[in-house]
Symmetry: C2
Subunit: 731 residues, 2 copies
């Protein structure tokens, strides 16, 4: 086992319990449990808990002043009891009632296998001492299962050790205290609990009408116990027991098998070693394609692996759930899905794990009915996806930085387009994606309008908020217009392939709007205008702003922030990032230099974009510095709020910085180009791309790029130039 697949205490700076819990979360995309203290002692600390992707409760949003069309309900992911923590009872004495000596010898997240390994030396107040070891994982083979193997050894006594988990819900400690930070969830929810069978309880939400089954099985010597795990200890003898926590949706009954039988069979056949073997296979397969190797920087190597590991383990995989802004690692942003998935996270999956990408994209098709209803409510045609949501309905309680970010529509279309381009999976587009692209295109025609701009008839989109949430409700946000144009063009392309799905009239409208899209540009400064009025405003008084007043959103009224030229994150620069062929290098440098001066990076989505564009414009030192902030953001707790969960989009951003930036991935026509922009600090970079079923391993060092086809799919050809690699596809 290479050390740089192991995350240990020594790798991190901040060791507060809440922060540790986030970093050592185990997840499988269905459920995630925070890495809390294993053995519960008399000192209760931290904010432990378990999250199930998409298991949430609703609550009406209360507005100080209501208006028509406002989002109706908060949606908040439910924090279930901590399924990791245990209480030990040794000869009748409990670990959470007496002051024991519990010494942590080993505690590590094994990212190679997707499990936590830990070991403790324990001494009770009565003098009983023993070693306690555990190995735990959320199963990727059966996502309903979280399992642990507990081993007792070196005991100085014979007697009984009982291992218990408290799975009772609605405990007071499940409720995180209310805070004033708008980025943290604040809802408290209660669940109805009903006995389902002798092993399982059914937990039901009140308003969102969801339910899950929840329970545990303990196995010692093949014998099951549903309450606790009881070990008869002989002095100095090794003793092992197993715990399985089941967190399952109620399985749908099918023609072939009654649902309950399937779950019964799963529970009856539980076998730790088999699950462990499968777990290792899953992770072997993952790392074989998705790993990134960096030479010369151990800490960075581990940091990148940590990011890839978190991306992999937190992605929803069942087509009805997505990737929450914090994954399943914490309750920040209430477990909501944002554009983060499409624009920051999906490229990693599209290029290395296309099945997961497909599942995440299918989610958008799954909630398309809600998006169509939302558009209708706003008197618009087509569909408007929710800015933040779990169930597809809009859950943003502040529309200027919520619903007004209509660019999400085009972001989703863009992700479908990238998926089709990289995977060649046209069937999926025909069956699932095309409708999403058409409905979002329809929205633009309805929401925008043709106006006279600079003496020409151009398509304008007014009253929107772009990615920069420090500027709201503006006309012709550059990014939004550019992305809407791309959405419309893609719709036209798909309409050409599936002419039976679209009328000629609609197709021609889309073509007209795309061709005449207004893209604001400042002729004097020769730069992109973030929107019609951005450059007219006063530049934020950065020099008079003390450091402690960042992020601005926590220290200034929105109406004060909005009246200045100041960007929370890359906004005007996103278009050059996504459409590199549409801008020459000098243009990108001018835009870069200007917007860097007015950007606070108060959003975690910002720095990776600056890193990539720095790479592409030969600013290697800058590219490296921005990258280093993104690559290690949570491990160094750069934003100070990792306790609420990891910054998942930023983790995707670190992949983008490496692949789009240092490796300069781009397209020329249908050719994929890798260009060597490696900074001096990184001597080697190796990664794999899955391009239409071909696995291509790519190596960069300070003087060359090399490619190797390690698994051959459809016809593909590599051409190695001096500092470039060209991947050619033949149809």
């Amino acid at each position: 086992m290479k050390n740089d697949f192991l995350l240990q205490m020594s790798d991190i700076q901040n060791t507060t319990p809440e922060y540790m819990e986030t970093l050592f979360t185990l997840s499988n995309g269905h459920m995630g449990l925070r890495g809390s203290d294993l053995i519960q002692d008399i000192h209760k600390t931290g904010n432990p808990g378990t999250f199930v992707n998409g298991f949430y409760e609703k609550k009406p949003i209360i507005y100080g002043e209501w208006a028509y069309g406002y989002a109706e309900n908060h949606q908040t992911i439910i924090k279930l009891p901590d399924i990791r923590g245990i209480i030990l009872t040794v000869n009748g004495h409990r670990s959470d009632e007496e002051e024991w000596m519990i010494k942590k010898d080993t505690f590590m997240l094994n990212m190679a296998k997707g499990l936590i390994e830990e070991s403790y030396q324990i001494q009770t107040i009565n003098g009983e001492s023993f070693r306690f070891s555990a190995e735990s994982f959320t199963s990727f083979e059966h996502s309903e299962i979280y399992t642990s193997k507990y081993t007792i050894s070196d005991s100085n006594f014979s007697g009984e050790i009982v291992i218990e988990k408290d799975l009772s819900v609605n405990k007071k400690s499940d409720h995180h205290s209310e805070v004033d930070d708008p980025r943290v969830a604040s809802m408290k929810s209660d669940l109805t609990v009903e006995k389902y069978d002798e092993r399982l309880e059914q937990l039901k939400t009140h308003k969102s009408q969801q339910s899950i089954l929840f329970g545990q099985v303990n196995l010692v010597n093949g014998k099951a116990n549903y309450k606790s795990l009881i070990l008869d200890i002989k002095k100095n003898e090794k003793m092992t027991g197993y715990n399985f926590v089941i967190v399952s949706e109620i399985l749908k009954q099918t023609k072939d098998r009654p649902a309950i039988n399937e779950l019964n069979r799963l529970i009856n056949d539980l076998e730790y070693e088999l699950l462990l073997k499968k777990q290792e296979e899953y992770f072997n397969e993952f790392w074989a394609v998705s790993d990134i190797e960096l030479s010369g920087q151990d800490k960075l190597q581990k940091g990148i692996r940590f990011n890839l590991f978190q991306l992999f383990q937190n992605a929803g995989r069942n087509s009805t759930t997505n990737f929450a802004a914090k994954g399943l690692t914490g309750e920040g942003y209430e477990g909501h899905y944002f554009w983060d998935t499409e624009m920051y996270i999906l490229p990693f999956f599209i290029y290395t794990q296309p099945d997961i990408a497909k599942s995440l994209l299918t989610y958008r098709s799954y909630v398309l009915p809600q998006a169509k209803k939302r558009a209708e409510k706003l008197h618009q045609k087509g569909a408007l996806f929710a800015w933040r949501t779990i169930d597809g309905d809009e859950a943003s309680a502040y529309y200027p930085a919520g619903t007004a970010q209509v660019h999400i529509n085009a972001d989703i279309s863009h992700a479908f387009q990238l998926y089709e381009r990289v995977t060649g999976d046209h069937q999926f587009m025909k069956e699932t994606g095309a409708e999403v692209v058409f409905e979002t295109a329809r929205f633009w025609l309805s929401f925008g309008h043709f106006g006279n701009k600079e003496g020409q008839r151009q398509f304008c989109i007014d009253g929107v908020t772009g990615p920069d949430e420090y500027t709201a409700l503006v006309n012709n946000n550059y990014y939004t217009n550019k992305m809407a144009q791309s959405n419309l063009s893609y719709a036209v392309e798909l309409a050409g392939q599936y002419p039976e799905m679209i009328t000629e009239f609609e197709n021609s409208q889309w073509q007209d709007a795309a061709r005449n899209m207004y893209l604001p540009y400042d002729e004097k400064k020769q730069i992109i205008k973030q929107d019609d009025s951005f450059l007219d405003k006063e530049v934020w008084p950065f020099e008079e702003t003390p450091k402690e007043n960042y992020p601005l959103l926590l220290h200034y009224h929105p109406m004060i922030i909005y009246k200045y030229q100041v960007s929370k994150q890359a906004d005007g620069l996103l278009a050059p990032l996504l459409f590199p062929n549409d801008y020459d290098k000098e243009q990108i440098i001018r835009d870069y230099n200007y917007y860097e001066g007015v950007t606070t990076h108060d959003s975690s989505l910002s720095r990776s974009v600056f890193s990539i564009l720095a790479s592409r414009t030969g600013q290697k030192k800058k590219a490296y510095n921005y990258f280093m902030d993104t690559a290690l953001m949570d491990i160094v707790d750069l934003q100070g709020n990792a306790k609420d969960g990891v910054h998942a989009a930023n983790m995707g951003g670190s992949w983008l910085s490496l692949i789009y930036g240092f490796a300069g991935l781009s397209y020329q026509g249908s050719d994929l180009i890798i260009e060597n922009n490696l900074p001096d600090e990184i001597s080697n970079l190796a990664f794999t791309l899955n391009l239409r079923g071909n696995l291509i391993k790519i190596y960069l060092d300070n003087c060359k790029v090399r490619g190797k086809i390690i698994q051959k799919g459809k016809f593909i050809q590599l051409e190695e130039l001096d500092n470039q690699l060209i991947v050619r596809f033949n149809k």
Copy 2:
């Protein structure tokens, strides 16, 4: 008594109880009570209650998503029990428990005297019959007193009649049901009740920490009873009793007299006929100056008197209260004070009742500390007045149509300036007004900035909302910039008079900003631009909008409304209204024609402005039509929501339509000009202006204007031209 001072049932169209209550409200600026059913029967209807100006409760505003600097508390005027309604008990039988025959013979609001006169023929189920008459008013001599004289006559029996008022608070019926209309109050409040003495209870709010004394005295034949009024009736003999309800602040103790003694003396000396005599004197004095006579239109004459009456009776008079948007006639807009006072209501008082104007302006000085704190919270210098408030703190829960309407600062300065111009009261400006003008000027320098506009250095004010709430958070709202310029110029003027109050540096900054204020203008269309981007947007699809979708705010999401060219009310036209000398007639006509086409008049503040500018530009028919909508708005329930209170600003607007419009009041240099713009439908118009202590009566008919000095103050001179009257002042 001329009939057109009497408002009767036959004068109004809508006779639902809630609507009647609004229209027949009696108020004296301190307290207002809705004109509910006098005799309570077994059918409880309506929404009766009593409001005390400035007596309110606070409640934290809950935001779906909180942000820094948001207003912290709702403020809601408290609805006290109905102090008008009575329960009659005849020989032990109660009017609210049995089905009596109660026939209303007379019911009228006597606007000449400020009282309600009413008379009923009553028959109990036991056959006792009698006539019951009442005369009631809120005293202007002692604003703590609401008093009634009750007379029994023509009784067919001898026995006991008890008249009772239920003054108990916290009854369920005091709480208006919660509604979805954002324009109506929705807070429920409870009061703490403590016995104060044998007659009075002390009512305390919890959060706003206010208290009032509340109680009643009944007098029969000089004998007092604090519970009820008991009349020993002899068959066919007339019998009279008096009721006094006391609603008093706890009077402040002064050196000369202990506060409680003063209130005791007032209560001990209560004498109905004396209060009535004083009441008549007050109203005689009021009408002598403030009346407007119109010939040829009885209904309109009465409607105008009704408006003037409501303005007079609802104005706060104690310098710590102001004029609520609904006066004290209903709970709409929570009893808040807005810019309505300064821009729509104050001109009437400034020109006819300057003492009331002075008191209303003093209120702004009284809350100046809160306005300075608000500016500081927003990291600005100077003061920013609350968009809506009772106690001076911002109470707007939706800042884009609240705090962002920073024009309120300049509106207040403008009202001070008009007051000084019309009254010549420089002393008040020196002692009270100048500081308000300076602090608001300071705000503009801090909030705005110098930018490059059309190649020139100009002063810009970004990120504001103008009066048009269908357009929000824009740059350089024309009205805001023009008013800020006026605010700054006035500050410079005052600084010249009181140089010790301001540094030379600050003065020169103000001059610079005023001189270089950016006023957006469309060179192609040759019209004022409502703001930088207004004319770039798509015009609202009026033709596709069904009638029932107005007002738009109740049927479209704000972000949809904002992205269109559509105005809730006159916005771009307010500058030509207020600064007529700065625009030639052709310019005003172009602006008028353009903005009329994109204005919905969904605000009650809109039509009067269109009427005035139509008058001034020779569009007499249009001026008349807009005026008729404003003049009778509540009497015909034009907006359908008069049940929540009168539209006070619109009432001020009807005065403006007459005086600024039909009588074309304006200035040339220091001369005041009256110009005859009388429409064909109105044959004569007569009104009085108080100009620096001179009372000047002005007569207009279809061919001439005449003026007459009816009370001579400082030197003044009238010049009558063909269709113009010039009032010249000599210093």
